[in-house]
Symmetry: C2
Subunit: 244 residues, 2 copies
């Protein structure tokens, strides 16, 4: 039995998230359908993260076990032929038997794009969230630095999640502007439910002046699910990298 | 009567080009429909270029005449409310009576994106043309430099166009690679029918080794419609800027 690791890219616009669901189109079900066509048997995949409905990925990692001798390059070509156009395998590699894409993930990186402009951008509409009011970039950079490190992040968690601890370590949180687009890049050893979108929402409120840095300071390490900032919508979010 | 200049952005994926057509959805007809809703009268727009079906724009320029006292900012907001999500007015300005977006255009810039990768990219599929084989970037840069200047470009023209002269001046032709994407940026005082896509197609054949630099040298200034290179598909092409 081989253990195979895939790096996936997908346009989340028309998926109801990664996880298989009965009535809706998901990344997992499309992928498992393609695997079934290729290997002629039912195969279950394990993913590093269950991205939400509408969220994109450039570097989602999944793995699956299969008894087959097909060359890796042939598997990748075959899958990309069977997969729909909004989902593709960008890399394929064989990994040791004990590799587990979810449990062994060390760091995950997400990127969130904000279009800071008064008028709509048709070409960016599926990849960025538009914010009309001017944003103070320096304040947002300062807030991002404050969030770095090991903290209890339950103030940035949406309800409905199952987890033991809310302590996570953010080792990188960058805010950069190129033209009208602001890129938020955050890397952590794990994320709570909707945490990235809650973090970015909070930074945006600091950037627009709705929230003060002191409020943020209070929220970090707060042992309440207070949800200090708004949760921004999914189309701006992309899972860019998972490292092991 | 005021003369108003608009800078448009559009996602060309679901438009049958700029120009109004009877049976198909076009940028012009959507724009004129929005203008009619806003001003309660029929208004005709003039565009710098009639982009083809599937071609995008970040900086298409149009102008129209109207007898109205509505503030420019209100016109822009109103149009962006009436326009579909794949078309928007990014800038608005009032211009002198004699301004004509087509006849007075001095320089136009197009960008063409090529995904040089073995596997599909779902997130780039509407903005780039995929080329599987490796491309020699230096050869393409050299060919682009050769094409700069004032030449008879009829070897790079698709049939079906009406024009007096095929002489055009390319003042900039850059080829740059960022990750898997190669950006071709070409600026000229005008383009023949499908000329950008024919130029890029030719450069790609030079990059892959199908064509030699000597063939290109022969084609420049050739007084025949020979179409030396393939014409690449529209989704990679974006009209980025028009200057007056």
């Amino acid at each position: 039995v081989r253990n195979i690791k895939l790096t996936l890219e997908y346009d989340g616009t028309h998926f109801f998230g990664f996880q298989k669901q009965k009535r809706h189109r998901s990344v997992q079900s499309e992928l498992e359908l393609a695997l079934k066509k290729l290997f002629q048997k039912k195969i279950k995949v394990i993913a590093s993260s269950r991205t939400d409905s509408g969220v994109h990925a450039e570097g989602q990692v999944v793995n699956f076990h299969v008894r087959s001798k097909i060359l890796l390059s042939k598997i990748q070509l075959g899958l990309n032929r069977y997969l729909p156009e909004d989902l593709a395998v960008r890399q394929i590699v064989e990994v040791p038997k004990n590799f587990h894409s979810q449990f062994l993930a060390k760091w995950k990186t997400y990127e969130y794009r904000v279009l800071n402009a008064k008028h709509r951008s048709p070409l960016k509409r599926f990849r960025a969230f538009q914010v009309l009011e001017p944003l103070n970039l320096n304040k947002m950079k300062q807030a991002a630095r404050l969030l770095c490190g090991k903290h209890d992040f339950r103030a940035f968690e949406a309800s409905g999640s199952r987890r033991i601890s809310a302590v996570r370590t953010i080792r990188k949180f960058e805010v950069e502007q190129k033209g009208e687009t602001i890129y938020f890049t955050v890397e952590a050893n794990g994320f709570l439910y909707k945490m990235v979108r809650s973090l970015v929402g909070t930074l945006l409120e600091i950037g627009s002046g709705t929230l003060e840095m002191a409020d943020l300071n209070k929220a970090i390490g707060l042992k309440l699910r207070s949800n200090i900032g708004q949760t921004v919508p999914p189309q701006g979010l992309t899972l860019t990298r998972v490292t092991y």
